[in-house]
């Protein structure tokens, strides 16, 4: 066992931040990884000097490595990846874990290319046992899931899908030390030129679907603009949020921010109503620990029915307007209750 600890590599967790403040999601991500990995050396890495820790406690990591000064006044993939690469040279090679999603994937790809390794993207499961760290990753095109063991030599780059509202039960106690690096890379001659930076009006910020406890999911069986309007109306009545599968995003009907699945967000709501969602593995990979799944689909063989608590084999084009009408009219519901 001792030998294993001698050989085991450092785990670097990328901590996303904005203007010196750790993002709320990044704190969840650190704890998500912490719950799965019990290594001796777990380091947090940021690409900005941190002044606001936003709930990240002092005993959650062994070390937090950050630059002493802001590397750039805007997100610069090349510059940030070079900083991360520099860290691996200074603190030793290890396993870099990035949150799957915008910045995480972008940086993971550039760092991996810099280190000439292939990144393991969209990892869905991460576990550690006595033999090492194992990850499971769905194949993008086929309904297959593969398990890999992370090598203990060289650098490994992983982008991990995580759940924002997972119950955090952190137990291990570590003593954090903060390392500030005076990093000045003169190799980067062409930096991004920022012309203007302005804060978005608070009211325009879209509420994140990852934090919602109730979701209504639309697939290509019910995914035109008009149909989505009907589902939005229903979502309003159920106090839920709308999410979609990838084909709707590809077709430009819905924005990427509300896409759930392998290449989209990972969500863990209590209630999920799937409308016209077939339940392909790529979509289900984005759904975790859901208490109640309801499904409406015209295809009785759709895999979503295997996972649903309650399903209707029916035409959503008829059923959804009908539900909206019934919910619009309280009298009808009361009448139904009295009949029951």
């Amino acid at each position: 066992m001792e030998n294993r600890f001698m050989n085991e590599k450092t785990v670097y967790i990328y901590i996303d931040s904005t203007r010196g403040t750790i993002n709320e999601d990044a704190v969840c991500f650190v704890r998500f990884v912490q719950n799965r990995i019990k290594r001796k050396k777990i380091y947090g890495v940021t690409t900005e000097p941190i002044s606001q820790w936003n709930g990240l406690k002092k005993d959650e990591l062994d070390k937090v490595i950050m630059p002493e000064y802001f590397l750039s006044n805007t997100y610069d993939t090349k510059l940030y990846a070079q900083f991360l690469s520099y860290i691996t040279m200074k603190y030793g090679e290890g396993i870099f874990i990035f949150p799957s999603g915008n910045i995480g994937d972008d940086l993971a790809a550039r760092l991996a290319a810099m280190k000439e390794v292939i990144p393991l993207s969209d990892v869905a499961h991460l576990t550690e046992n006595a033999n090492g760290i194992y990850v499971t990753r769905p194949d993008n095109h086929d309904n297959e899931v593969f398990e890999y063991k992370i090598k203990e030599n060289g650098i490994s780059v992983i982008s991990l899908k995580y759940i924002l509202n997972e119950k955090q039960d952190y137990k291990a106690k570590r003593s954090i030390s903060i390392e500030k690096i005076n990093y000045q890379n003169e190799d980067v001659k062409e930096k991004i030129i920022l012309i203007k930076k302005e804060k978005i009006n608070e009211t325009k910020i879209r509420e994140k679907i990852e934090k919602s406890n109730r979701l209504l999911g639309c697939g290509r069986g019910f995914g035109t603009r008009n149909e989505l309007k009907q589902v939005k109306e229903l979502a309003g009545k159920l106090d839920a949020q709308l999410c979609v599968t990838r084909p709707l995003v590809d077709m430009g009907v819905a924005p990427k921010e509300i896409q759930v699945g392998l290449s989209g967000k990972t969500v863990s709501p209590e209630f999920y109503l799937a409308i016209g969602v077939s339940g392909s593995m790529q979509h289900l990979a984005g759904l975790k620990n859901i208490q109640y799944i309801l499904a409406i689909n015209i295809d009785r063989n759709a895999p979503i029915f295997d996972y649903a608590n309650f399903g209707i084999v029916g035409d959503a084009h008829i059923l959804i307007p009908m539900i909206n009408n019934i919910l619009n009219s309280k009298k009808k519901i009361e009448a139904n209750d009295s009949v029951k």
């Binding site: 398990e147 890999y148 063991k149 924005p255 896409q259 392998l262 295997d306 209707i312 029916g314």
Partner: protein, 253 residues
Amino acid sequence: MKIIIYLNDVQTDLIEHPSNTDFVELSHENVLLIQLIKRLFNAEDEIIAIYNGKDKNLLRQALAYGCDKAIHINDKSQNHLTSVVCEIEKTGCDYIFVGYRTLDGETSFIASQIAQVLDLVQYSFIRKLERHEEQIYGYRTMNNYIDTIQIQRRSVTSLIFENNEVNLLNTEDIIESFQKPLISVFYQKDTQHVNPFKESYVSKKEVQSYVMEDKGNKIINCIPDEEGNINTTNEEAVLSLINVCKEYNILKK
């Protein structure tokens, strides 16, 4: 000026198109990208589409939407990045544009990988591009801030589009696309190529156990099955659904 657009396909069974022969389609995002680049640059600038997927005809669509030239990479070497970078270097370029979401997995990594191999500046998550005189500006939203960035030459830009309507093709565009060059290049199978995950591979897992528990609960039919059986009417199905929502405290009882 040479502008390269790296294209990806998306699988489809919904959209019918004369060139859709292999259930793949130029993604909506890529169409928007081509149309945006066409508007942004002058007529004398050359817009080149590069694609290394299976359906060459997809590039005909790209030409119809406004690209001036198309390169189809038939890559059997499995080193997709190398072949793409090789073609970009051969062609030469001032700007490279990549759609961000297009396909799952590594393909969303392609912008980072191209930028790294060619040692270029990379502009990620750009949502809008504008041109003022000779300079191009990109806008992106990150962590509740909108950044306005100057897009320099010799750079890779990955774009995310908000929903927009695509201008559909007309017959003239389609006919014109057949007069534009569509070049195919071939990369032979690389016998030296080693699957980078081969050593790490452990096992193949059962999909169902991986995804989530099979809840196997009540399913009702309100459309007739092959034998004409039907469980319930649409009205009853809807009322059952509402009752289930009440049971789960989603709706007030």
